[in-house]
Symmetry: C2
Subunit: 491 residues, 2 copies
C-alpha cells in the first residue's frame, strides 16, 4: 500500500539522474532519427497489462531495451529538423520538482506560488523581449492552444459576447466571420478556425511577398473585398518567424490595418519571439506592442522542456469574459484580489509550468540566454555563407533567425536556364538527399516546399549544437549530393 518506498525512490532517482547525465553527455552515440520499423516497439511490449507489480530495475532496463531505440533524439547536437529545441539541465530539474509538487494551478489558492510565479516569470520574459507592461501573461501548454484562445477571444469581442451565450448558429443576421493570415502561417491557425466554428473557409490566406512575408497591401484589399461581399472580418494572425522560412510579417503595417478595421491582431511568435531578447534582434517584435495578443514558446527557443507556451494579452478582461465559468465547487474568497488562471483559458487542470522557466532564466541569466541564442543565429549565418558560396547548393529564403532553407542544385551559378524537367529532377534529388542523410542517423533535417521547390530546412536551436556538428552535416550534404547526382541525373 501507499507509494514507492522512499529509499527506493532515492535509489532509483539517483540512478535515473545518472542515466540522464550519461545520456546527455553523448546523445550523438545514438542515431538522431529513430531507425525502428513501424510496429517494432509495440510488438516488443506485452499486449496485456501486468497483473503483479514489477521492479523498477526491470522497468528501467526495458526502457533502455525497448523504448530508447524508438526515440528520435531531439537532444542530439545534429537535430536540425522542424524547430530544434532544448530541454536544458535547469529545465529538467524544474520539471522534476513540478512533478513532485504535483499541484494544480487552476486557482490561486490551490497553490499561490504556482500562480504568482507564473505572473513573475512571464513578466520577466516580457521585459526581456522588450514588450510593454500592458501585456498580461498566461501559461498554456502549446501555441496551438494559445492561438485557439486568442481566436475565441477575438470572436467573442466582435460579437459582443453574444456568441458566448447564444452561439454562432441561428442568427439570421450574423454574417460569416473571417480571419486573415498569410499563406505561410502555421496550421494551428486553421485548426483554431475549425474548432471555433468558422471553418477553413473562415480563414483567408493572404499572399506573400518575395521574402515569404504577408503582403499588407493584399491584406487590405482582401478585407475590403470580403466586407463588400458580406463577410465580417474579425482578426489577423501575423507571424514573427513562420514555420517554413522564419519570415517576419510586416507587423507595423498590419497593425495599422487592424486599427482601421477594428480587428484583433494576434502575433504567432512561438519560435522566434525569444530572439528579441538579443538587443540587436529586438526589432523583430517591432509593432507587436500594438498587438492584442502574442504567443511565444519557451519550449521552442528558450531551453524549456516541452511543454510551455507563454501567451500575452493586452485585453485580459476580454479573455476573462470569454472563458470564465466558476461553478460553486471552484468559488473562492480571494477571487477579486488574485488571478485564478482557470478563468483565462480552456483548461481547468494546469501544471506548475512556471517553475522550470524561473529556474532556466535564473540559471542562464539574461546574458547567458543572449549568448546562446546569438550563437545559434551565428551558426546559421555561417551555414548560410557556405550555401551561398557553394556551386552545388542554393539558398531559397532569407535567414533572419537560425533556420536555413536551401537545396542542392548543380546548375546554380552556372548561368544555365532551369527548365521544368530540371525542377522535377531537383525535387527528386533533394527529397532523396534528405531521406538518405537522415537515414545515416548522423543528422536530421526536415523539409518544406517553397514555390514548388522541395526545400531542405536546417534549424538550429539545440543547446548542444556546435559549429563542428553543423560542419559535419554540411559535409554529409555535399558527399551525398555528389553520390546522388551521379546516380540520378538524367543524361
Amino acid at each position: 500500500m501507499g507509494d514507492m518506498e522512499l529509499d527506493e525512490f532515492r535509489k532509483y532517482g539517483h540512478q535515473v539522474i545518472d542515466w540522464i547525465a550519461d545520456y546527455l553527455a553523448h546523445p550523438e552515440r545514438y542515431p538522431v532519427m529513430s531507425q525502428v520499423e513501424p510496429g517494432w516497439i509495440r510488438k516488443n511490449l506485452p499486449e496485456n497489462p501486468p497483473e503483479e507489480p514489477e521492479s523498477m530495475n526491470v522497468i528501467l532496463k526495458d526502457m533502455e531495451q525497448y523504448i530508447l531505440p524508438g526515440i528520435t533524439h531531439w537532444n542530439h547536437p545534429a537535430f536540425f529538423a522542424y524547430f530544434a529545441i532544448s530541454g536544458s539541465g535547469p529545465g529538467i530539474l524544474g520539471e522534476l520538482l513540478s512533478a513532485a509538487f504535483n499541484v494544480n494551478a487552476m486557482l490561486w489558492k490551490t497553490s499561490p506560488a504556482a500562480t504568482e510565479l507564473e505572473e513573475v516569470v512571464l513578466d520577466w520574459l516580457r521585459q526581456m523581449m522588450g514588450l510593454s507592461d500592458s501585456f498580461i501573461g498566461i501559461i498554456n501548454d502549446t501555441a496551438s492552444v494559445s492561438t485557439l484562445c486568442a481566436m475565441v477571444a477575438a470572436r467573442e469581442a466582435i460579437t459582443d459576447f453574444k456568441t458566448r451565450s447564444h452561439g454562432l448558429t441561428g442568427h439570421s443576421k450574423l454574417p460569416r466571420l473571417r480571419l486573415y493570415t498569410s499563406e505561410q502561417a502555421h496550421s494551428s491557425v486553421e485548426k483554431a478556425a475549425i474548432v471555433i466554428g468558422i471553418g477553413k473557409e473562415g480563414v483567408r490566406k493572404v499572399s506573400i511577398d518575395d521574402e515569404f512575408r504577408m503582403d499588407a497591401e493584399a491584406l487590405k484589399i482582401a478585407i475590403k473585398e470580403d466586407i463588400s461581399n458580406g463577410w465580417r472580418p474579425f482578426s489577423v494572425v501575423a507571424t514573427v518567424g513562420t514555420t517554413s522560412t522564419t519570415s517576419i510579417d510586416p507587423i507595423m503595417k498590419i497593425a495599422d490595418i487592424c486599427d482601421e478595421y477594428k480587428l484583433w491582431l494576434h502575433v504567432d511568435a512561438a519560435y522566434a519571439g525569444t530572439a528579441a531578447i538579443i538587443p540587436e534582434m529586438r526589432y523583430v517584435l517591432d509593432g507587436c506592442e500594438r498587438a492584442d495578443s502574442i504567443v511565444v514558446n519557451p519550449h521552442k527557443w528558450l531551453f524549456a522542456p516541452i511543454d510551455i507556451s507563454a501567451f500575452y494579452c493586452r485585453k485580459p478582461d476580454i479573455l476573462r469574459r470569454t472563458f470564465s465559468l466558476v461553478p460553486e465547487y471552484l468559488k473562492t474568497n480571494e477571487e477579486n484580489v488574485v488571478h485564478n488562471y482557470m478563468d483565462y483559458g480552456i483548461q481547468l487542470g494546469r501544471r506548475f509550468r512556471a517553475l522550470k522557466l524561473w529556474m532556466i532564466i535564473r540559471y542562464f541569466g539574461k546574458i547567458g540566454i543572449i549568448n546562446r541564442l546569438s550563437e545559434h543565429i551565428s551558426m546559421a549565418r555561417e551555414f548560410t555563407s557556405w550555401v551561398d558560396d557553394s556551386s552545388n547548393f542554393e539558398r531559397l529564403a532569407p535567414v533572419p533567425f537560425s533556420v536555413v532553407c536551401f537545396r542542392a542544385n548543380p546548375w546554380v551559378r552556372k548561368g544555365r536556364l532551369i527548365r521544368n524537367e530540371d525542377e522535377e529532377y531537383l525535387n527528386t534529388l533533394n527529397e532523396k538527399l534528405l531521406n538518405e542523410i537522415n537515414a545515416t542517423g548522423q543528422t536530421y533535417l526536415s523539409h518544406t516546399y517553397l514555390r514548388g521547390k522541395f526545400t531542405l530546412r536546417l534549424a538550429i536551436g539545440n543547446i548542444r549544437t556546435t559549429r563542428e556538428e553543423v560542419k559535419k552535416t554540411w559535409d554529409l550534404l555535399q558527399q551525398y549530393f555528389v553520390k546522388l547526382d551521379k546516380q540520378l541525373r538524367p543524361r
Copy 2:
C-alpha cells in the same frame, strides 16, 4: 555556452531527488493549504529578471524559502479537496525521463516510441477498465481538452464535415445546435460549448434525480421539445462520477436515447473511470461500451503526476477527418501505416506522457492499483459510516466512490422540522466550519452546494492518505463544529 555541466547536473539532480524524498516522507510537516497572503510570493521575488547567471544552489534555496510556503500540498495525506490526486514515485521518475528525452510526439517518426507506447499503454488501461477494443486511445493534457475534442468531432459528424470547411455562420438553413448534459456536469462541458461556437444556450442542462444522476426521461423530453422548436440536438455528455457528488448518470438508458436520435454520446469519467479496474466496481462503466467517446484521467485517480488525460474514441476516423491538417513541412512517408497523433486532436506539440503511465502500471501492477483504489473507497465508506452514525452530521449524497458529501447539522436525527432560517444558519455554520478547519493547515476539504445546502466534500485519492489521517480530520470537524455551533447558533 552549452547546457549546464553534467557533473553539476548530476550533483544537483541527486540533491533534488533527495530533497523530494525528504519532502514526500513528511508532507504533513507543512500546512495542507498554503497560508500565504495574496501577493506574498510576488513581493519576495525580484521584479526584474537577472542579468547574470545564478548558481543552482541559490536557486534551490530560494525555492525552499519563497516558493515552498506558497505551495498548497496536494501530496499531504490530509488533502481532501476537489479530487485528491497523487504523483507517485514511478510517475515522478517517468516525468523526469520524459523531460530529459524532450521529444515531441506530434508525428510517429519524431519518436516512434512515444507514439507506440501511447498505443500500448492506453490499450492496457482500456483492458483494465473492461472496455472493448473498438475504442482507440489518444493522450491529451486534460479532460477539458478531451471533452472539447469530443464536442468538435460530434459537431463535425452531425454537419457532415461542412462545418470544418464552411463554418457555422452564414448558413441560412443550419438550425441551432444543442448538446445535453446534467445539471451536475463539469464546467468543461459548457466551456467546450463556448469554444466551439454553440454558446452556453447550446447546452441544455437536464434535471437530475434524487441521487444527482441525469434523469433519462427528462433528457428524452428535452430532446423532443427542442426538435419541435427547431433545435438540432447533436450530443449528450454523460458523467460517471460527477464533480460535486460523484453520481453516475444512467449510461445505458442515455445510450438508448442517443441511438434513437443519432447523438454522439461522450462520457466524462475523468475521475471515476479508473475505479472500473476493480472487478466489483466494473459496473460503473456499464453502458459505456456504447459511447462514442469517453475520457478518463490517470492524473486524477491513477497516481500519475498532472497532466495526462486518456481520451478513448470509437470513431477515430471522424476525429481524424475533423482535426487532420498536414502542411507540407509535416508530411512523412509512413502516414498510411502509423498513427501521427497530431491528426487526432488540437495540439501539435505533444509531450511524451505515455512513459509515466507505463511505469506506473508496471510498478504497481493491476493488483496494486486495485488494492490502492479499493482502500480509498473503503476509507470513504468508513468516513461515511461515522457521518451516518453521528448526531451532529448528516450525509447529503450517496457515496459510490471515494468522495463524501456531508454537512454539520445539530438537528439531524432529532426529529425536528428544519425551517428556512435553520437552513440559513446551517449554510453559515458549514461555510465557517470549512474555512476554520482549512485554516488549521491540518486538513483541506472543499465544498459545493447541493439543493441550496452548503456541502462539505471529503475526497480521498491521495496515495499517502491513511485511516488515521481521515480519523484526524473527522475529529477536527467535530471539535470545530462544537466550538462554532456554540458561538454562532442563534438563540
